[in-house]
């Protein structure tokens, strides 16, 4: 089987040169048309995947921090709400106490005023009644006197009156 090789050494060299050149050419062509672009694409893909993983990690962390913030906000708002309710209760209690106290004092003053008024009115009424009685008695008296007072009696009255005046001056 090697016999045709030994016939002429030139035969070997020609084929070898041809194959060497052709193979180098093929290497170059494949390198230009397939190897380089495919490897670039592979690299690009690897980059993209690693970027995606990075960004996914980033967004995960972001989401986590957001959730934490929300949790905190929720806890804060709960606390705030409870404090608001507490203060409202306290305020309500205070207001209630104040209103109650006010009402009591008002009632007291009203009562006192009313008592004073009543007293006043009673005094006034008494006074009025006394005046009225006095007037009435004077009227009645004058009427009686007009009717029954005789000249003698009138004289005696005047006298007594004058006497009274004199006594008054003396004293």
């Amino acid at each position: 089987m090697f016999s045709h090789l030994t016939v002429a050494a030139g035969l070997m060299v020609g084929d070898m040169v041809f194959y060497a050149i052709a193979f180098v050419l093929l290497l170059w062509l494949i390198g230009v048309f397939a190897w380089k672009p495919v490897n670039e694409m592979l690299e690009k893909r690897a980059d993209k995947i690693s970027n995606d993983i990075d960004s996914a990690e980033k967004s995960r962390l972001e989401a986590e921090s957001l959730a934490k913030q929300r949790q905190d906000a929720l806890a804060n708002s709960r606390q705030e709400a409870s404090s608001i309710v507490d203060s409202a209760k306290k305020q309500g209690q205070q207001q209630r106490d104040g209103i109650l106290a006010d009402a009591q004092t008002e009632v007291l003053t009203l009562k006192q005023n009313a008592q004073k008024d009543i007293e006043q009115q009673r005094q006034d009424a008494l006074l009025n009644a006394r005046n009225d009685v006095a007037d009435l008695s004077i009227e009645i008296a004058s009427k009686i006197i007009q009717k029954e007072l005789s000249a003698n009696d009138q004289k005696a009255l005047i006298d007594s009156y004058i006497e009274g005046l004199g006594k008054q001056h003396e004293s």
């Binding site: 089987m1 090697f2 016999s3 045709h4 090789l5 016939v7 002429a8 030139g10 035969l11 070997m12 060299v13 020609g14 084929d15 070898m16 040169v17 041809f18 194959y19 060497a20 052709a22 193979f23 050419l25 093929l26 290497l27 062509l29 494949i30 390198g31 048309f33 397939a34 190897w35 672009p37 495919v38 490897n39 694409m41 592979l42 690009k44 893909r45 993209k48």
Partner: protein, 239 residues
């Protein structure tokens, strides 16, 4: 094809060429290039069918190289391994489908069924290994590697290089050549006594073709694997 008369030759520029090798080699080169060229159109970030096949092939040959060469040094030899594998594979399988013989002279067959062709590639691997060793370790370190483990080891080291070169080329040649030879013999049997032998020979031929297909793939794989082993040996300083 064993005798010289079965080889069509021609002269060009003072060199003698084997027409069968030139024609079938050209066909194989063109087929490899068209195959790769067709698959590498419309490259996208999200790979299509063709791109997937191409990427799988690249991963496959890179995987072979990674088996023996250290990870960060594979890149430089990736293209060599890829092209070598594709070319050898297509060359090995070519002869199973097309064999053209005109007047007892072969014109188209597996290029790898000729030792000249396989020796060329084996020589290319050896030269690449030497070049890689020199470029990585420097002249002095590279060639003192032949004197290890001791100075008198030198003849054995040189002999080892030579046997590596020979076995690498002859292994693939032997398998492919014998495969084609047997195919031819079965073919001759089929046409020897009319329809009866044809019917008998057909399943045998089919079986042998299938087996040769497998062998061709294995041999291409083995060639690239051994190439990477020889290259990696030159990249490391032997202790």
């Amino acid at each position: 094809m064993g005798d010289p008369s079965s080889v069509p030759t021609f002269q060009f520029g003072g060199l003698t060429f084997n027409a069968a090798n030139i024609i079938s080699g050209l066909i194989a080169f063109v087929l490899v290039f068209l195959f790769v060229f067709a698959l590498s159109r419309h490259l996208t970030l999200r790979p299509g069918k063709g791109q997937n096949v191409l990427e799988w092939l690249i991963e496959f040959t890179n995987g072979i190289l990674k088996g023996s060469i250290h990870g960060n040094e594979v890149g430089a030899f990736g293209l060599y391994g890829f092209t070598l594998f594709l070319f050898l594979f297509i060359s090995n399988e070519m002869g199973l489908f097309i064999q053209v013989a005109v007047g007892a002279k072969d014109y188209v067959r597996s290029p790898t069924a000729d030792p000249v062709v396989t020796m060329t590639f084996s020589l290319a691997t050896m030269m690449l290994a030497q070049y890689a060793g020199v470029s990585k370790l420097g002249w002095k370190k590279h060639f003192t590697g032949y004197l290890k483990p001791f100075v008198f080891w030198l003849p054995i080291s040189i002999f080892e290089e030579f046997t590596n070169f020979l076995t690498l080329g002859l292994r693939i040649f032997g398998v492919i050549f014998s495969g084609e030879m047997l195919l031819k013999i079965i073919g001759q049997l089929a046409f020897s006594h009319g329809i009866v032998t044809m019917i008998i020979a057909l399943p045998i031929e089919m079986f042998w073709q299938g087996f040769s297909l497998f062998l061709g793939a294995i041999q291409a794989f083995v060639f690239v694997t051994l190439s990477s082993v020889y290259i990696s040996q030159k990249l490391e300083i032997e202790e």
